[in-house]
Assembly symmetry: C2
Homo-oligomer: 331 residues x 2
């Protein structure tokens, strides 16, 4: 294995978030379960947007958020994902490059618009999402830059990538290229219902292809079809080299061969918007891992990054995470 030019390359759905405050009655009236991620088509996205309050736009996408976190920590990150050559696509590209993430996937020149995620944030800080995948459906195996994957210590894939039709093939090619180069493959399970839609293939991948797995309690329980977190944690242990299981305010559980670490959550003065909590935990954890830090430290960096992101609206860091981690003496 040659030395790595990149710490982490993320592959995901390239999405601009459209974020508005909403009350629980609005979410119920729209037919959504609070806290859920719902795939919606273009007409539904329009009618939902028409019904939503004033919004702000902020680049998002699960793996995009994670890569922004890696860069904000001072890591070397790259991203593969598909936007269209429209205004929101330019916004998405700008925001990744401006924070220092390499992002060269060409924009689609025809077809659906850049994806957007309509995010309704309730007064308790929880987010409910309606996602229009738009140009993300154009991401296929041809977009996988093999030299880039081979040059990265970790290839990080978001589970949401299994929703658009061709992306699964892109995922498999990326994993194969990474392993052929002696690199590691990480997966985030993204969402319990996404796991439910693709459970069989996720299980097969977790056992066969994934070295590092990120999941929250609901996701890991969905993967193993159990409501017992301890049982799910036990099951995953034999399937991956490292599992980082997040538990909201109860912190995270990090499992590896012969190791088990309970990591505390970092304190947050007020939870404003939970969007991106898991994405930024993954950023912190992977940053630590690519620096060769001990697993509990990786988890603590993840906790700190998650705490920053839920303290404000939007899923991209508002301050340099590098400074936070240094101030906490974690690096």
């Amino acid at each position: 294995m040659s030395s790595a030019a990149i710490d982490v390359v993320g592959i995901g759905n390239a999405i601009v978030d459209v974020i508005a405050h909403a009350d629980e009655a609005f979410i119920a009236a729209q037919g959504f379960a609070k806290g859920s991620m719902n795939l919606i088509d273009a007409p539904r996205a329009q009618s939902l947007y028409d019904a939503m309050g004033p919004a702000i736009e902020s680049s998002g996408g699960s793996a995009g958020n994670t890569m922004a976190g890696i860069a904000s920590l001072g890591g070397r990150g790259a991203y593969i994902g598909k936007v269209r050559d429209d205004e929101l696509g330019a916004v998405f590209r700008h925001d990744l490059r401006a924070i220092g993430v390499k992002f060269e996937t060409p924009a689609a020149t025809s077809g659906p618009a850049t994806a957007r995620c309509l995010i309704m944030v309730t007064p308790d800080g929880q987010r409910t999402m309606g996602t229009y995948l738009g140009a993300c459906v154009e991401l296929g195996p041809d977009e996988i830059e093999e030299a880039l994957i081979a040059s990265a210590q970790v290839t990080y894939l978001e589970g949401y990538l299994f929703d658009p039709p061709q992306a699964q093939a892109a995922f498999r090619r990326a994993a194969a290229v990474a392993h052929a180069a002696g690199r590691r493959v990480a997966l985030s399970l993204s969402d319990p219902f996404c796991v439910g839609r693709h459970r069989a293939v996720f299980r097969e991948l977790v056992q066969g292809e994934v070295d590092i797995l990120f999941a929250n309690e609901a996701e890991i329980c969905s993967l193993y079809e159990t409501d017992d977190f301890a049982a799910a944690a036990k099951a995953v242990r034999g399937h991956v080299a490292i599992a980082a299981l997040t538990r909201s305010e109860r912190g995270s559980l990090v499992l590896a061969d012969g190791e088990e670490h309970a990591v505390a959550a970092a304190p947050v003065a007020r939870v404003v918007d939970t969007t991106g909590a898991g994405d930024l935990y993954a950023a912190g954890f992977l940053f630590g891992l690519t620096r060769g830090l001990a697993l509990p430290t990786c988890g603590s960096i993840g906790s700190l990054c998650a705490a920053e992101i839920i303290s404000h609206v939007g899923a991209r860091p508002e301050v340099a995470l590098k400074g936070l981690v240094e101030a906490a003496r974690l690096v």
Copy 2:
């Protein structure tokens, strides 16, 4: 004068703000004076955007911000301004309508893109702006909905409207229609350098057409080419029925026939982003005026709205201003 269906109709440059943190060295390197508004062309907007950090997008535009404030206070607002039929144009329209502002000006179907204002916020909360006027140059007298103007108690015009070439004719038509219907015309001077670019015509309008004038210290001093605020305040007194002169943390001075009121600023825990302070002061003041409240109360509502807007990033209210004003027992 018939009873009014609308409290305030605002006419302005329809702009989406692109907001990023920046340090003073960046602003200097870009050749801007901190705190200034700079008109930039499309290539300059692109190169500035390329150099800026990760950003969020939020609808803006001076009069647009004011109308969002009027609606958030529970007032009946309408807006006239020009976007293109592009993604940012749809964002601008959504955000005004979603807060309850009537906005029917058709989007341009050709020509430049929807305007954007690249806003660099320094750690002290001050904003420096690069504005690409885009589709705003298409606003002309034909866009002035005469029935709408005649139905509004106040027609509110932003001084920035004098920068695009045809908008001055739109301004004059709107003022003529308003006065013919027995309504009042309000003007915000917007920016001291904008005043400098159009001083002669602003002076003529202030003396002949404007009933209610909003200006900060630098703007009113620029209008009368003096560095003595007291002298400028004295000069404007004979020219308009009401002048509301804002003085940042020193509050505002409200002048009218036989009246002079010093109004305190409302307290702010931390100034995060001053963008929109003047726009929201005008919203609060005009809301009070259209409710028939006393001038010092109008000023206090303006102070409260300005305090809300500078306490967060972006120039549109994050909470319902109606609740703030009721809690302060100002209505």
